[in-house]
Symmetry: C2
Subunit: 441 residues, 2 copies
């Protein structure tokens, strides 16, 4: 008998990170990093489970969990092999469900829910294959990879034939690049020094530590106070020395005009990129800012809702670095589409990470990009934040500023059961101690 | 003692419209029109309640309800007068909550939930004022109206001062326009004839009925089959005669290239506009299609997620008609912003309606636009679909193809309690008879 999916279980897991101002920026002063977590179980004797999650920053994580639960009837009862053998088809079914798509379409809570479930399916597929996800993806033929992608709304920028040609171009060097990754890892940059809530002394200390740890790029949050930003940029530059790249991140703080003024004021400190200067929905705004602050590069993507918006950012030349997130667009499949778009337009992908578990996930996508899509690590770095990795069964491993290639089968998405219990919201023991403040005074 | 909000209750109400193929189009073959419904209650002796809802088409309505429930702590316990006297402030608090905004930002399920609650607040405010909403809005000064709008991410296209100037320009003629509206109503167009699921005979009969009822514009759904679309356009043109405007609506069916080809093939039938040719997220795609199918006008908006995307459509000249929806962007306040943007760019607003209750809501916004913002009814029409009005306490009234101006206090958003009970999902009596089919085979 072929095995079937027997359950899709969700849980609301929240970490009280706001207590330490970890993760504070101009738009998110007090995040409680959270996961709307999903476990897919089958009746297969192998006992493997698929784990995935949507990342949120606290309030609303229960809404995200409810959205994941709404996908239960799409999987439970179906044959595992049918679904895992055609994850392109499964993706289309979930994303284009004619009733659910009204809740987006392809954006926000429902799309992130699909992300969690799609990623859990990939985790399961990789565990069953006995491979880390990046290796599983790197073992797929160009034709199979193109079959994962939904080209709806993309064909004015990228056709299936063009995608196939891009992938075939890189097919030859895959083994050599896999070997390089397994030997040297993938470059990371450090965001931990630069949260807005930290004191100048803590900023200075963390900058020095990042350099000592081998990072060649750090990032500072900006956008709350220009004088403070200039002071913090100066401190960071002094602490890091002249050779370290210092990126800045405004977390959507500005309108177009104020963005240009603020960035121009910080230009003397030579920011490596300026990230999320304005609304992630404003492709024209990003293009206008890019044009007016050149040669300072603009980066964005962690809040970009789907491949259609990424397509437009690329069509306009609005970004010089494209930042994918593993859990906002609809999972692995849509990120493959976005990696292909970036390759077509020649824009380096520098993934967003941090939060809880985002580093664990996105490292697989960056490494797959290197092996099979862009074929390059030039000017490419994965964000690294040293938070909450201890809650994962297969946590990221960082050595001298680089992500080591994951070796365990799966998507590195499995959170320790004891962490899921301890940080369960609102009934877990940790939340019995933390009183949740009301959202209004 | 000043009164406070004492409860925010949600309910999941679904109508089994898919049984009759009402509402079927190229992307939504079998919608069950649904409302994630919210009732705000206070301890005021006036006994007024604020009613609002997010509209969905079936599956996922429970997710939408959960999102509305997540807003409960933002209102319950607060003083009613404080909130209702500063609905601009209340809007900002809900939309910019630093944790909830991660779930969007400003899009999808969470934004639609805010829409439902913001609209319920306006319903309550209008009931307390003893005015239909459109009259309440029309009684506000230009300064008060500008105070409702969040200009974040808009100032490269529209500043508060420009908005104020636009509103002051129309302030003089308000009384005369109110009198015209109360006498003659506001033009409507009829979508009921054109659903894809209907037979040719039914299409012909409904076209004739629409003309006999006084409508001067109808709309056909297209995009599933080109030959069938040409045949249906021919039937509609014959049945309506040469003087009736026939708009077409593709419901996001096409990529850019195929959109241009399909619309070009339908051009001989002189469509009045082509609606939603592609993804609502693709502002560049809309601009490209507009350019290539000119002079056929492009319309969009029912799925446009927020004011930032509307801004870009207008900046690019990508649409000739802008279609607001009362319950997708974050309620009245954001629609005031969008009406102001449209006025700035000189683009007529022709609201989306239909579904359940959308006609009831959006008529107020179109009438407010006429009285206080655009000052014009030229080439402006509100969509009208003759479904489910019987479930509302203050249903729309249509005479000779025009919406009569609502007279009852409030936002016309109150659904009859017996309808909410009967169609409650999944436990109401109607759903005890209809078995819900599984979403997959």
């Amino acid at each position: 008998m072929s095995s079937r999916f027997v359950s899709l279980d969700t849980s609301d897991v929240r970490f009280p990170t706001s207590a330490e101002l970890d993760g504070s920026d101009a738009m998110n002063p007090d995040p409680d990093y959270s996961a709307a977590y999903v476990v897919l179980r089958t009746d297969d004797v192998d006992g493997h489970e698929g784990h995935g999650f949507a990342f949120t920053i606290g309030r609303g994580n229960e809404v995200q969990s409810a959205a994941i639960a709404a996908l239960r009837p799409y999987l439970v009862g179906r044959q595992v092999k049918d679904v895992l053998d055609d994850l392109g088809g499964a993706w289309r079914e979930l994303v284009h469900d004619s009733q659910l798509r009204w809740l987006g379409p392809e954006k926000g809570v429902m799309h992130m829910a699909i992300s969690a479930v799609v990623n859990a399916l990939w985790d399961l597929k990789a565990k069953r294959a006995g491979l880390p996800l990046w290796r599983l993806l790197a073992s797929m033929s160009p034709e199979e990879l193109v079959g994962l992608v939904d080209f709806r709304y993309l064909t004015d920028a990228l056709t299936p034939d063009e995608a196939l040609a891009l992938l075939r171009q890189q097919a030859g060097g895959r083994d050599e690049r896999i070997a390089r990754l397994e030997k040297n890892g993938y470059p990371a940059y450090a965001t931990s020094p630069g949260w807005l809530g930290y004191s100048d002394d803590k900023l200075r200390r963390l900058c020095r530590e990042a350099v000592a740890d081998g990072f060649t790029q750090i990032k500072l949050k900006v956008g709350a106070d220009l004088d403070a930003d200039m002071r913090r940029m100066r401190i960071a530059r002094e602490a890091c020395g002249p050779d370290i790249r210092i990126a800045i991140d405004a977390n959507q703080r500005w309108d177009v005009g104020p963005a240009v003024d603020w960035i121009t004021a910080l230009a003397p400190f030579e920011p490596w990129w300026v990230e999320e200067p304005t609304s992630p929905d404003d492709v024209l705004g990003h293009a206008e800012i890019s044009r007016r602050v050149a040669p300072i590069p603009v980066a964005t993507g962690e809040h970009v809702q789907n491949r259609v918006v990424f397509k437009q950012l690329l069509q306009l030349g609005a970004v010089s670095f494209l930042q994918i997130d593993a859990a906002r667009v609809a999972g692995v499949n849509e990120n493959v589409a976005i990696l292909l778009l970036a390759a077509k337009f020649g824009v380096p992908v520098c993934p967003h990470a941090g939060g809880v578990g985002l580093c664990e996930l996105v490292q697989h996508l960056a490494m797959f990009d290197f092996v099979a899509v862009s074929g390059s690590m030039d000017d490419r770095v994965i964000e690294y934040v040293d938070h909450l990795h201890e809650h994962f069964v297969d946590p990221v491993r960082i050595r001298t500023g680089r992500y080591l290639a994951p070796q365990a089968p799966g998507f590195s998405s499995t959170m320790r059961p004891e962490s899921r219990t301890r940080f369960a919201y609102p009934d877990g023991p940790v939340w019995q101690q933390h009183r949740t403040p009301p959202p209004h005074p």
